[in-house]
Amino acid sequence: MDTVFLIAAALKIGVFIGITMSFVSVCVIFERRFSAIIQDRVGPNRTMVPLSILGFKKDLALPIGGLTQPVADGLKFILKEDFTPSYVRKFFFWIAPALVVVPALLTMAVIPFGSPLELDGHYIPMAVADLNVGPLFIFAIASLSVYGITLAGWASNSKYPFFGGVRSCAQMISYEIALGLSIIPVLMMFGTLNLGHIVEYQTHHGWLLLPLWGEGLELQRWILLIPMAIAFVIFTTSIFAETNRMPFDLPECETELVGGYHTEYSSMKFALFFMGEYAAMVVGSALIVTLFFGGWSLGFGIDQMLPMGEWWVSLLHIAVFLAKVTFFILFFILVRWTVPRFRYDQLMNLGWIVFFEAALINVFLAALVIARPSIGTGGFLGGLALLFVVTILLIKIAKSAADKPSHSTI
């Protein structure tokens, strides 16, 4: 059993990190082509094999459009000069890009990519580490990537990168709170922190936001949809802020900070920041899919008809999972090219005044709905009225706080 476990773990680490990395490059081509479509351009559509540098007359055009563009981008990054300015703090300057990429890839470990595979009577979960603290593990490791960005800004020893680093530090800490609070209702409903069990529950009883089969058809689940939808909105928006994606990309906003925390970086070191951002985006999409949209499950009761544990079923489930993740990555890209950037005080107000309070109230709302069968309709309505009054009061306080002029420094 031990050797089987070790071999399976090594294989899974290789395959899943490989999948994540190839998804990062797929993200790049998606981002460029999709943004081109949105802006009515063509985008990169004709990468060629550069035979002319070998002495041939013409470059070889491959008939697959711009799909090889990521290869060209990668080559460009590797072949560029790796320039380290003389005034930087060398050690931190070198270690910062790695501190961004490594946490983003580590978080992949707990995400279940497909249904468990049966081998010799043992079920092998299709996640590298089938931990009982899945979402917490992701939050903990993802919170370490703040160091990379902050240190990059500080180690560059120059004004704009420093602003970028400080901004990102404040932003990520603020939105981590909303992120953690927003999924408490979800975890209360599932009653477990194991992502594998969460997905399994959703295959039998309906996806969290699409309860159309199994126990999902009960009235209780449909009332629960209200707090779950609020949790989904807060969670998704906070993921945007955590990955420094567009409406919240103030740490690297070009119009104010040149390039933000990676202004002084070039070549492969810059590419590592780039990869870290996209890897975080892939993990974020995977987490959204796992928690709210059934992970690897096909849904609509089809999974129960399939022979679980067969290798082709696992493969099919992995394909379904990746398709869902791709959908969310496209959503991330769509938002980046449609929503304009926030101002910094708006960002902080949204995080601390709107999302924090909304997530907190949402926890109580979900608790009320979950307790509804045991406290009866009277108690439920009474609690709802109380919660409503508290909410109104909170909104009043928040408004009076927001109206006062504040001195923002950064």
Binding site: S143, E176, L193
Partner: protein, 210 residues
């Protein structure tokens, strides 16, 4: 394998702690403290305490140390001046570690010998025994399947019984120590409000001086 990981994370925790004291640059010191915390988290996870280990990273390495580094960078602290030895500081520096060493010795002496009956290692049998304790009602009857708790199901799982440490901590805190928890929450709230009041007052004074 377990031994190797224990020594690896133990080395990380100790090495990080030593470097924290050794470095002159405040940012390097803070970062080696992060390394030390990660080593500690690894040791907790080695003891099957996943929740404590993860919270160690989430709270200490991920939030508190980030704030430390944030402050150090904003204030732009320079390297510390070379240390001047004084007899009082040396005495203090010797006395405090000595106290801790005595404490550690006491704990080791009171601790269980290997494989003692009171503190058995976590195996499938001991997990099953623990599960039996959770399966019974107060009058000694077995619970029906619908009322079995998540703790029981996790402890008595046929294929791979696991220690449901998160559920156990939740059970202990929210059932047995609910009142102290609430009081601690209020204490933290008081501290937060106090910080806000203090910072508001000092900024008002600064405005007056201007």
């Amino acid at each position: 394998m377990d031994q190797f990981l224990f020594y690896l994370f133990g080395f990380l925790a100790l090495g990080g702690g030593l470097l924290l004291v050794g470095f002159r640059n405040p940012v390097s010191s803070a970062l080696s403290m992060v390394v030390s915390f990660i080593g500690l988290a690894g040791l907790f996870i080695g003891l099957n305490a996943y929740f404590v280990g993860i919270v160690q990273i989430l709270v200490y390495a991920g939030a508190i140390m980030v704030l430390f580094i944030f402050i150090i960078m904003l204030l732009d602290l320079n390297n510390e001046k070379p240390f001047q030895f004084r007899s009082a500081t040396i005495l203090g520096g010797l006395a405090i570690p000595l106290l801790f060493a005595i404490q550690v010795l006491g704990v080791i002496q009171k601790g269980p010998a290997e494989h003692s009956e009171k503190f058995p290692l976590i195996t499938e049998e001991t997990l099953q025994q623990a599960a039996d304790g959770f399966a019974l009602k107060s009058d000694g009857e077995l619970l029906p399947a619908s009322e079995q708790t998540a703790i029981y199901r996790s402890l008595a799982h046929q294929d791979s019984p696991k220690l449901p440490d998160t559920n156990l901590i939740g059970e202990t805190i929210f059932k047995h120590y609910n009142m102290p928890l609430q009081i601690m929450g209020v204490l933290l709230l008081v501290a937060t409000v106090g910080v806000v009041v203090l910072s508001k007052r000092s900024s008002k004074n600064a405005n007056k001086q201007n």
